[in-house]
Amino acid sequence: MLNDFINQVGPSTVGGLASGAIYALIALGYTMVYGVLRLINFAHSEIFMIGSFAALFVINLMGITGPLSGIALVGTMLLLLLASMAASGGAAVVLERVAYRPLRRRGASRLAALISAIGASIFLQELFALVIIPEVFDRPSQGRNQVPVPRLFDRETVFSIGNTDIRNDHLFIIVAAVAMMILLDVFVNRTKIGRGIRATSQDPETAVLMGVNIDSIIRTTFFVGGAMAGVAALLYAMEFENLRFNVGFLLGVKAFTAAVLGGIGNLRGALLGGLMLGLIENWGSIFFGSEWKDVIAFTVLVLVLLFRPTGILGESLQRARA
């Protein structure tokens, strides 16, 4: 058992960091929306799903069927990134307008907002399963099956640490995710809009009095959180090469777990929580088998919350809060 662990710990660390980076990017959307509205955006998993299909749509549009390289690859990646970020961000803004704002105006309970989000989530999943996947992706009567994504670039080992090979796709995911995190951190902490977001999350009423346009801040928050999910969606489609109408559900639950683990409302907590969750899942699978992965993730969540009821980094209401 211990030997197994020593042999596998390297590869599963890399795999764990890669999936953890994807969790972290999705977790940002949950944590930002929670920060300003104190609301679990349950349909965020479908925002992710929309982004992944937008990436696939552009891939099909460009007629890509096999691995690319060189300048074509860089250009394609940037284009795909733009497409999935725009699709996810746009969908998040529409979601806010349709499912949340009417309730917010009427002072509805959070429970009502949660049900509205679950309704939107069901609607979007079914819309893809029944209409968009069969029609747009030309898979009649297979809307509930997996949709394959062509490979974008050849996977090769970039370098090795000990007996662990670091592959270019894993490296790309981790670097891309961390770069996005840093960008977002700068955006929230250094720009004027970022200041508005922080003000709204600390005290919406005072923020209004100070001249912050809350509706616009909330819209921006949804857009930015959605765009981060869009980045995650592209990375996911690239790495796992299979999409489904309900691809977002488990990832969404995991990402929310990551957000809670790190301390919800806390941007850096989302990164830490995501990476930790990815690592713990993959290390745990060595001992218990990969079919217990999800059980391990949720058990860790319960254990952490028992000892740190507001997550590892805490909600940190005053400072790093987004």
Partner: protein, 379 residues
């Protein structure tokens, strides 16, 4: 940002909302002052209606596409009982539980395991199943109920998934194949339980009536008042001397028992159960039923569960699109009437206390709701 909400009353949605709200609230004002005999008559009529409900005359309208008596048992009856159970946790104690299906699953698996592996009959398993789910409610509750709000929500969601995946990965209980050949209940009072759904429906109906009476008595007791205090303001309740943790655990315990009871009865009819019978979406659907009907108000919750179970079956003609419509309908309903079809009277009074008079008409109650400042959304 809320200042313009009153200006929007020309909106057709707002008008529709007020009309619907006006009727239901009118009926309830009458009900609140109705004399005892009138109430008992209504109860008797409702039970009589439930007893004749499986008849073909009603079924031909209610369910042209599938067998009505089977529908009445599942999903309608099971959803109603589950919703009554979840209402104790969510509606009365105000604890957001996103993993209620776990208790249903534990009840069903208890029936399946004891029935097939140990040859127990239905009635003793019913007792054991309720006991098992009550214990699992305490196991889940005692570490997690110190958490609040959304943390509790995600932990209960995780618990629901843990139960389902564990069932899927454990070969002893059939893994992903599940358990088959679950025994039917033994005959009682000369009634045979076999393939005909009718006896199961009446069994479930009896369970629903017992549980509703129990839940109603509980709501009116010291326990119910403690739950209400916790729901409205946990810190204030604690300061007033309510042992909040104990009462929250009690809510979980009772909710779990009702979920387990449903699971045992359901498993004894369907013969075979599999882990995919207990997905997260079922928890979400039951929660939607509770909120749609009016969280905290038993008749509302039961009507909500009935509608959510029945409407998709009634419109099976729309084939696959019914789930899509269901999703859209949830969003629309919450925008129209976020407090549910029949919210508890007392909470409506609290909501309209922001207006001029405590007992005003429905319309002004709604306006008071719209005028509340933004951060009350968070409560």
């Amino acid at each position: 940002m809320n200042a313009n909400s009153n200006v929007r009353s020309g909106n057709p949605l707002t008008a529709l909302r007020r009309t619907v709200g006006g009727y239901t609230d009118g009926v309830r004002d009458w009900w609140a002052t109705a004399p005892g005999w009138a109430r008992w008559t209504v109860y008797a009529l409702l039970i009589a209606l439930a007893i004749v409900a499986p008849s073909d005359a009603i079924g031909s309208f209610m369910s042209p596409h599938s067998h009505w008596a089977s529908l009445l048992f599942s999903p309608i009856g099971t959803y109603v009982l589950l919703a009554v159970g979840l209402n104790v946790v969510v509606g009365q104690a105000g604890l957001l539980d996103l993993g209620f299906v776990a208790f249903y699953a534990i009840g069903a698996y208890t029936m399946a395991i004891f029935g097939t592996k140990y040859g127990w009959t239905f009635w003793p398993v019913l007792v054991v199943g309720i006991f098992m789910t009550a214990v699992s409610g305490i196991i889940l509750g005692s570490p997690t109920l110190r958490l609040r709000g959304d943390y509790l929500a995600i932990v209960t969601l995780g618990f629901g998934e843990i139960v389902r995946i564990t069932a899927q990965n454990t070969e002893y209980i059939g893994g992903s194949r599940g358990i088959t050949n679950i025994p039917h209940p033994e005959p009682i009072f000369g009634v045979e339980f076999f393939l005909d759904p009718l006896p199961y429906y009446y069994l479930l109906l009896a369970a629903i009536i017992l549980v509703v009476v129990f839940a109603k008595r509980l709501e009116r007791s010291r326990v119910g008042r403690a739950w209400e205090a916790i729901r409205e303001d946990e810190d204030a309740a604690e300061l007033m001397g309510v042992p909040t943790f104990k009462f929250k655990l009690l809510a979980f315990f009772i909710g779990a028992m009702i979920g387990g009871l449903t699971g045992v009865i359901w498993a004894s009819k369907v013969i075979a159960i599999q882990p995919p019978n207990f997905p997260f979406i079922l928890s979400a659907t039951i929660l939607a039923a509770v909120v749609l009907g009016g969280s905290g108000n038993l008749p509302g919750v039961m009507i909500g569960a009935f509608l959510i179970a029945w409407l998709p079956e009634r419109f099976r003609g729309f084939a696959d699109y019914r789930i899509l419509i269901f999703g859209a309908a949830l969003v629309l309903m919450m925008a129209l009437r976020p407090e549910g079809l029949l919210p508890p009277r007392r909470r409506r009074a609290v909501a309209s206390a922001g207006g001029t008079k405590p007992e005003t008409s429905a319309a002004s109650g709604d306006e008071a709701g719209g005028d509340r400042p933004a951060e009350e959304v968070a409560k």
